[in-house]
Each structure stands twice: as C-alpha cells, then as structure tokens.
C-alpha cells in the first residue's frame, strides 16, 4: 500500500510519492502524485498535478526539487517540534496534520483551532490612488470601501476567467494613513505579482510591497475563537464585526486583526511581523488551553472549507472558470464600472447554458476526488467533481462539482464514478455545513 506523503525535517525527495492511478482509465497511467494533490489541496490544472509520462515527470520533478529551496513560514520550527506531518504546498513546507484531520476538524467545529496560514500571499498598496488601482483590477468595487472594511473579490483576466480569489482590506496605519492589504492564494502569488506590474506602471504614485515574507498570518477559528482572544487583543479589536479589520497591537507589537476565515466558523485572522509570530502563536495556544484548542493543518483546513462550500483555487476556480459558473456573481459589481474583464463578464452574466457549481452527498463511505465524472440516471456525462472528501461533520462523503444547468437542481439524483464504480449521490443545497447562529 502507499501511504500519504509526509516528510521529516530534512527536505528530501520523499516529499514526492508515486502512486498508480486507479481512476476510470482502463489503461493504467503512472501518476506523479504530488503530496498536496494527494491531500486534495492542489488542482490538476496546475503544473504540479498534471498527469504526464512518468519517466519524464520524474526527471522534471527531481530537477525542480533539487534546484529549488522550499520556503518556510516563521512557525516551521514549532510545527516540527509538535509532531506535525509536513508536506510541500505552493512551494512552502507546511503542516498537513498534527493529531489527525478528523480530530483537528472537530476541534474547530466544536471549540477552536489555530492555523498557520503564513503561506498566503500578502500584498500591500499605499498611496492616495491605491483604491483606484485595485478598483481597476478587482471584480468587486473598491473605491467606496470604508476604513476597516474587508471584501471578498475575484481578479479576472480580460476574458473573464478567474486569476485568483482574494480578500481586500481597507486599513489605517498607526500613523493615520490609509492603505489596502490584498490576501492572495499562495499558489497564485507569483502570478498575481507579475500580473500587477503593467498596472502598477499606470499608477506610478501607488506604492506596492509584497509583505508576505516579512509577516506571518495566523487564523483562530471556531465557536471559542472570540473568547480565546479576549486576553490577547485590545477591546477595540474584539468588537469588530464580521468582515471588518483593524490595525492594532498585540502585546505592544503591531498586529492586523480581521474577523474573517476559511472554515465556516466565526473567528479571526491575524497578520503579525515574522519575528513576532512564534510568540503570538504560543500565546494563542496558552490562552486556548482551557478551551481545548488544537493546531490545525492544511488537511483539516481543506475539509472545513469544503463543508462550508468555500471554493479553492485549482479546484472550483481557475482561468477557464468564470465567476457566474462558480456561483460567485455576488463578487462582481458590473454596474457603472469598468475593470479588467468587465466587458467579458457582462456577456457571461447573461449565459444560462454554462455549467453550475453544486454540492453532492454520496451514498456509502467512499469519497469522490477531483476529476471524478458525474452521470445522470440515463448514464449521460453531465459533469465533474472539483473537490471531494469524507465530511467529518456530516459523517458522509461530500463533493463539490460542476454540472450541466439542466441537472443543477437540488434533489436531483446523479451517479459519480469513483475509480470505476458508480456511486449514487444527490444534489444538496450549499453549504453542507452552516454554523449555528449565535443569539
């Protein structure tokens, strides 16, 4: 049998695993299984996940691996000291799991989980016209953002394909200056920074800094997240509403706090200086002890976001997918705005023939993985799974998928091909999990 990827502290070729692909192909292909793909965290549209001739791929990957140094977050030493299983994700050495995916998942749903998400890209824009630059690039309106506001947005290419999904925050520095922070996917950071260049040239007065390496990002998520942070954050931060952010201080060190997350739970995301990361992380773990806090790796981060039906770039989103297909029309403000991709998006917003993103609950215990084909009851191919996992909260296999509009109706029965076996499933309302609303 082949075991999930793991690595010890010394970066070695064992990061990468071979796996005989047993998907629906009658002819076996050797698939180079990137550990992050193994854990369902990277998409097949990326170079990492593509199925290529094994021999050639081995050479390419070996060269790639030897010639590139993996990036580390400022918390790497903590993860290693606390028994995390590490694997490469978006060129970072990241914790995949500590106690186990289900244990970490449940801790986040019932108490509180802490995540090192320092691999996420953090891009800062200063200057009086920073809002106009971002308004030109983001599908969501930026020029009307108030200080302290956070918005989910997409960045599209001219054709309306999705380059990334991002959070943009309008912040005020301690010296009273407004600036914007754009949090991008780690796998897309280099692409987005490159994409920005010509636009930055059009706005010479906007100062741009990639502050990813200089900072760390920590998420605290779960029903006890707010309480956990009471002794750690100033009162003015603790009263922030959902999707609000503030530059404040934590133990007299600068800290950006936002009431956001990627788990379906209430909670915080903190950005601190890289040199403060270990101290902040330790203080969170200490304060969380009485609540049963657990460190959570990328494995459970993926099952949590899937239950909450949050899209993941490389799975539900890529450059061939447009926002309407993805069910993210709310993140496109088309009225009275011109931005990169807006013309194409006006057309796409009217197209009712495109495939739609839906949620499936499957019979049995086996999960459908990305790429599994979906058939209607007459055995016609009607779509494909984009993300799938066993859901710890529902105790059932769940999946997100793109299916033809004719079948994209809640209650429709569909068959999913799981490595050659057709498994019954039904389309359900998304999200799979919604947190109980506090009174």
């Amino acid at each position: 049998m082949e075991l999930p990827a793991q690595c010890d502290s010394s970066a070695s070729l064992s990061f990468f695993k071979w796996k005989q692909d047993t998907y629906s192909h009658s002819k076996r292909v050797l698939k180079f299984l990137h550990p992050t793909l193994y854990f369902g965290l990277a998409g097949p549209t990326t170079v990492n996940g593509s199925v290529l001739e094994a021999e050639q791929l081995f050479v390419d990957k070996a060269n790639f691996f030897m010639s590139s140094q993996l990036a580390a977050t400022p918390l790497l030493a903590w993860h290693q000291a606390h028994g995390a299983r590490m694997a490469e994700f978006a060129n970072y050495q990241m914790p995949i799991q500590y106690a186990g995916i289900v244990s970490e998942h449940n801790a986040t749903r019932t108490a509180v989980g802490v995540f090192d998400i320092s691999h996420m890209g953090r891009l800062r824009f200063d200057g009086p016209r920073a809002d106009q630059l971002l308004d030109h690039l983001l599908t969501r309106r930026v020029v009307d953002m108030q200080t302290g506001q956070v918005r989910y947005s997409l960045i599209c290419n001219v054709e309306g394909g999705i380059l990334d999904d991002v959070l943009v925050s309008c912040l005020e520095s301690p010296s009273g200056k407004n600036y914007f922070l754009l949090v991008v996917n780690s796998s897309n950071r280099a692409k987005i920074v490159h994409w920005l260049q010509p636009h930055l040239a059009d706005f010479p007065d906007v100062e741009f800094h990639d502050v990813t390496d200089a900072t760390a990002m920590i998420a605290i998520q779960g029903p006890k997240a707010i309480e956990l942070c009471k002794p750690l954050l100033p009162a003015s931060a603790l009263t922030l509403g959902y999707y609000r952010a503030k530059v404040t201080d934590q133990m007299s060190k600068p800290c950006m706090v936002s009431r956001t997350g990627y788990t379906g739970e209430d909670g915080w995301e903190l950005v601190v200086k890289a040199e403060d990361a270990a101290r902040v992380w330790e203080s969170i773990m200490m304060a969380g002890r009485e609540f049963g806090v657990q460190p959570v790796g990328l494995g459970a981060r993926d099952t949590l976001r899937l239950e909450a039906a949050m899209p993941l770039y490389g799975h539900e989103l890529d450059e061939t997918v447009d926002p309407y297909q993805a069910g993210l029309g709310f993140a496109c403000n088309l009225k009275d705005r011109i931005f990169v991709g807006s013309e194409a998006l006006i057309q796409k917003s009217k197209d009712s023939m495109i495939q739609k993103r839906v949620g499936l609950i499957l019979d049995g215990r086996r999960a459908a993985r990305q790429g599994a084909e979906i058939f209607d009851t007459d055995s016609r191919l009607v779509g494909q799974v984009t993300s799938g996992s066993f859901s710890p909260t529902l105790d059932k296999p769940i999946a997100m998928a793109y299916v033809n509009p004719s079948v994209a109706i809640v209650g429709t029965a569909l068959d999913v091909d799981i490595r050659g076996t057709k498994v019954s499933s039904v389309i359900v309302q998304l999200p799979f999990y919604k947190r109980p609303q506090s009174l």
Partner: protein
C-alpha cells in the same frame, strides 16, 4: 493464540502475511500498525471476493482515509479463501489490533516460496524508521 508483529513477514508496501499452519498453505494478510498510524482516520475499505486470484505485488483492495486512497498489495500469489467482511464496518479495529482482529484476507498460496522474499520484522522495522 495472539499474533505478535515479530512473527509476521512484511512487504515494503506495509502489508503483512502470516502462515499459522504450513500444511494448509493458507496465509493471513493484513496491514501493519505503522501503515494504520500513517493513514489515520480510515473511512472505507474495499475487499476482493472469495475465489478471486491475487498475485504477489498485485493490488487486492484499497483503504481510504479522509484525505487519501491507498491500494493494498498482496504479499503472496494464490486464491482468496476468506475475507474479513465485518472489518469494513469497524475499521477502528485496525488501530487497536492490526495483527489479530484486524486481519483482512486469507489466501491459499500457489507458491509458498514467495514468503521467503518478504521482510522479517527487524528489517521491516528498520525500513519504517527511515
């Protein structure tokens, strides 16, 4: 009689084989405690059918955890004579007792000399510690 890991023969790929009585030519097959620990959070196991033939190094089933699917390879060639179908509904047994209650299939061996090519406990243990 309790089977302890020292009495078993192992594949590099973490399956074990045990022959209780050489005269029967039947090998019991399972997966190691190390493998179970590495997989974590098991949710599903697919077993072969009784009567199916298996080959040494060939896939006889698969085990699935929350985030990963792992094929299981047979340590020996032969015919499946018994499957532990009750295990599928209580995979947690594998965490508690992978070598007795956690057995997976029994195979009537076509070539018992294949057992000699498997690893002994000491060698297997060393491999896992790398």
């Amino acid at each position: 009689m309790s089977i302890t890991p020292e009495k078993l023969k192992y594949c590099n790929s973490h399956e074990w084989a045990y022959v209780a009585d050489v005269s029967t030519g039947i090998a019991t097959i399972g997966i190691s405690a190390f493998a179970v620990e590495e997989l974590t959070d098991l949710v599903f196991m697919a077993l072969p059918k009784v009567g199916q033939t298996v080959t040494a190094g060939g896939e006889f089933g698969e085990v699935e955890s929350v985030k990963a699917v792992s094929p299981m390879y047979s340590p020996v060639s032969g015919t499946v004579v018994d499957i532990h179908s009750a295990l599928v509904d209580k995979l947690e047994t594998l965490t508690v007792d992978p070598y007795n209650e956690g057995w997976i299939i029994k195979v009537k061996m076509s070539d018992p000399t294949e057992l000699d090519r498997l690893l002994d406990w000491e060698t297997y243990k060393k491999q896992c510690s790398h």
